[in-house]
């Protein structure tokens, strides 16, 4: 088991003018489950591959434990890419299917048996070790394949979108199983996904990348409550955080004609009067006219205990520089009490709950205040 360290790790593909991963710094703890997440092309696979030894590192270093592995070949790094296409062999027993790679590596028989039995116990396969894979269920077969990686007892597991070929239902099921298995094994794991929900439910910590640059690396809770910048704020969470372009005013910010109060100290770091206000749909409360953000209700979605309203405000929805400018304006979303939802066409006044208002500098996108 080991720590992993990306130390200013940079990858510039030949022919590109911009690094695909730019001075990445992440310290991963021993036994930690770290998820790399971000939109397509942000550099998550490249980061993982640098760790695996599949992509050259052009600058910076990569450490596994106290070993500098930057220039080591993949097989000398003691990492295992899990959920690669593992085949099962029909004539071989489950035990042999799990242990044969150790035989190739020259591990002696007694040791192989011991490791296979240990892995089988963790995977709940002990009573099937002498069976042939044909006699197993689909899930058991999957675990045998997983066992192949486990018996090698690598220092780090690497997984790149392992669930991408499953349908939605199986994905949800499988991701909790992987996470719980990883915790039982306690092997440091780096996991790549483009799905922020997957990232937030699985990771001890989540690292968000954009354009090859690390935006934030934090526990899911802290990232959700304290996004470092407007990109992370908009990327993490579903439905997404409402982000509005607003102006600093007296005693607060001006949102579509009404004032949302903000302590003066919080605005101290702003580079000008232009700000982006963020508030999650579940962090809003209905209040009275003149108090909160005026929202005209377009659609009401009733879900029993809760209802979601989709509406519009006079304030401008924040648009990221590389967003599609022609995309239809995103609605303003709020979660309200399902027993007394407003009606379509109503104007409601919504105030951010205490401590749940996020502010970002419009210029840099950086978070203002704590």
């Amino acid at each position: 088991m080991a720590t992993v360290k990306f130390d200013e790790a940079t990858r510039l593909y030949p022919g590109n003018d911009k690094p695909s991963v730019d001075r990445l710094n992440i310290d991963i703890e021993d036994g930690e489950f770290l998820v790399l997440v971000g939109p397509s092309g942000c550099g998550k696979s490249t980061s993982l591959r640098m760790l695996a030894g599949l992509e050259e590192v052009n600058a910076g270093k990569i450490w596994i434990g106290d070993r500098d592995v930057t220039n080591l070949s993949p097989k000398d790094r003691d990492v295992a890419m899990v959920f690669q296409n593992y085949a099962l062999y029909p004539h071989m027993s489950v035990a042999d299917n799990m242990g044969f790679a150790l035989k190739i590596a020259g591990v002696d028989k007694g040791e192989i048996r011991k490791r296979v039995e240990e892995a089988a116990k963790i995977l709940d396969l002990s009573q099937y070790l002498e069976r042939k894979p044909k006699a197993l269920s689909g899930g058991q077969r999957q675990r045998v394949a997983m066992g192949r990686a486990i018996v090698r007892s690598p220092q780090v597991f690497l997984m790149d979108e392992p669930l991408s070929n499953l349908d939605a239902k199986l994905r949800v099921q499988t991701r909790t199983q992987i996470a719980s298995l990883q915790r039982r094994l306690g092997v440091t794991t780096v996991y790549v996904t483009h799905d922020q929900v997957e990232a937030m439910t699985m990771g001890d910590r989540v690292a968000v990348l954009k354009d090859g640059i690390l935006q934030q690396c934090d526990s899911p809770r802290h990232m959700y409550d304290h996004p470092n910048n407007v990109f992370v704020a908009g990327f993490i969470g579903s439905p997404a955080m409402n982000l509005l372009d607003v102006q600093a005013g007296d005693g607060g910010v001006d949102v579509g004609g009404s004032t949302v109060p903000v302590e003066r100290a919080r605005l101290a770091g702003a580079s000008g009067g232009n700000l982006t206000l963020g508030v999650r749909p579940e962090d809003l409360e209905l209040t009275t006219e003149g108090q909160g953000i005026p929202v005209t209700v377009d659609v009401v979605e009733e879900l029993g205990a809760d209802a979601y309203i989709y509406g519009s405000t006079k304030a401008r929805q924040h648009i990221e520089a590389d967003d599609d400018n022609d995309a239809p304006e995103k609605p303003f979303i709020a979660r309200v009490d399902g027993r007394r939802p407003p009606k379509k066409g109503d104007t409601v006044y919504l105030a951010p709950k205490q401590g749940h208002l996020h502010l970002f500098d419009a210029e840099s996108g950086a978070r203002l205040g704590d």
Partner: protein
């Protein structure tokens, strides 16, 4: 959703296949019983408009990706199966969605390794398969293709004058890069080594492996064979100015390995005492291209080498060394090659490809001549071969009835 077919030249008859049924339950009369390797997805062969297609049931986005990848690989002229199309938007009779299907053309006369091992084998078959796979892997790597799932199961083999030629069949995990890093090539090799060892151990456990073959030793051969070939094809060679013959000798060695050198860089040291050469662009198919140009025959590399040798002896025997090569080649084709390959009765024609048959007949003549103590005419050799050897060969255009295995690994921890 309506059924959606992506294909460069769609065959309307595709619409007649029972897409509303899971592939596993397709009726026998649609299917061709040909052998397959180990796979996680359901794969079936179907007969359609006089050809055989391989159908693999797989998620739509993966099917589409693999289809496009195979198209690119075909364009790059790497030996691989030919993509035919993707069928998506399938619904069963209850209206439930079914996975998409990737369709490829069945590679004629190809043999999955498991089918080879269920026949009586010449010793050293495993080694010859691995040699062929090493050549394929080097070729793929030279074009920038990282396979990600190198295995005997994901390769098809065709007989090639006593050796084998390897074709890529499963491009699901593959990626095309500008060039591959050392780490990427290493990783592919490591995957190959582990998979091959596993596959040979599996044959051993099933009692199919040739006696005296050690799975681990044999699987290690992929690494050494690959390294030798890679070095010969890419390495910088440095020698003294006087040894200029070494340029020519390098090119010849590459030709012998079946490669043409399209670009060779030559440079001298500052002081001009040494020369450095390095192949920059090499192209497989040295012999097969030459044979194709001379005769129009499109055959595997070793078969071509064999045929060219026979053509050379024909030229010598006819005292035609000074005549135009193409004219003599044409004569050889009509007077030697075609009469032999046509001497096979129709009902035995599915046994071997013509070029492989020609190779076998040459071998047969050699044994007959040795026994007789004098040269046996080729006409006698073919007669004897057709009478005594060919009938007992399996039908390899369409081998049937071998152990084939599907091992779906559903990623579901159902009872953990």
């Amino acid at each position: 959703m309506a059924l959606n077919i992506t294909a460069s030249r769609p065959d309307p008859a595709l619409l007649d296949l029972p897409w509303e049924l899971p592939l596993e339950t397709w009726p026998e009369d649609n299917l061709a019983a040909l052998p397959r390797g180990i796979s996680r997805h359901v794969v079936r062969f179907v007969k359609l408009s006089g050809r055989v297609l391989a159908v693999k049931e797989i998620k739509a986005d993966i099917a589409e990706r693999e289809y496009q990848m195979l198209r690119v690989l075909n364009r790059l002229e790497v030996p691989c199966v030919e993509p035919f199309g993707v069928v998506s938007g399938r619904l069963d009779r209850q209206g439930n969605a079914l996975d998409a299907c990737l369709i490829t053309r069945h590679l004629q006369f190809s043999l999955p390794y498991r089918a080879l091992f269920s026949q009586s084998l010449r010793p050293g078959t495993s080694s010859r398969l691995i040699d062929a796979l090493a050549v394929l892997l080097v070729r793929l790597h030279l074009t920038g293709f990282w396979w990600g799932d190198v295995s005997l199961s994901n390769t098809l083999f065709r007989r090639d004058a006593g050796a084998f030629a390897a074709y890529l069949v499963d491009a699901e995990t593959g990626e095309l890069h500008q060039t591959l890093s050392h780490g990427q090539r290493d990783h592919d090799l490591d995957i190959a080594r582990v998979n091959i060892a596993g596959e040979l151990m599996d044959l051993e456990a099933g009692g199919y492996l040739e006696a005296g073959t050690d799975p681990v030793d044999t699987s290690n051969q992929i690494v050494t064979r690959y390294a030798e070939l890679w070095a010969e094809l890419t390495e910088l060679e440095r020698f003294e100015r006087g040894d200029r013959w070494r340029v020519d000798s390098r090119i010849r060695r590459l030709n012998d390995l079946g490669f043409d050198v399209d670009e060779l860089s030559i440079s001298t040291d500052f002081d001009g005492t040494h020369i450095q050469i390095q192949p920059k662009v090499v192209d497989a198919g040295h012999h097969s291209r030459r044979l194709l140009r001379l005769t129009g025959l499109d055959v595997e590399e070793n078969q071509a080498r064999r045929l060219l040798n026979d053509l050379d002896s024909y030229r010598a025997s006819q005292d035609r060394q000074n005549d135009d090569e193409e004219i003599v080649a044409h004569e050889w084709l009509t007077r030697v090659y075609e009469p032999i390959t046509r001497a096979v009765p129709r009902d035995l024609a599915g046994k071997l490809e013509p070029a492989e048959l020609f190779h076998e007949v040459l071998e047969h003549r050699w044994y007959m001549s040795e026994r007789a103590g004098h040269d046996v005419p080729i006409e006698d050799a073919i007669q004897d071969y057709v009478a005594t050897v060919l009938p007992s060969k399996p039908d390899e255009a369409t081998v049937v009835g071998v152990d084939t295995v599907e091992m779906p690994v559903v990623a579901m921890f159902d009872d953990l």
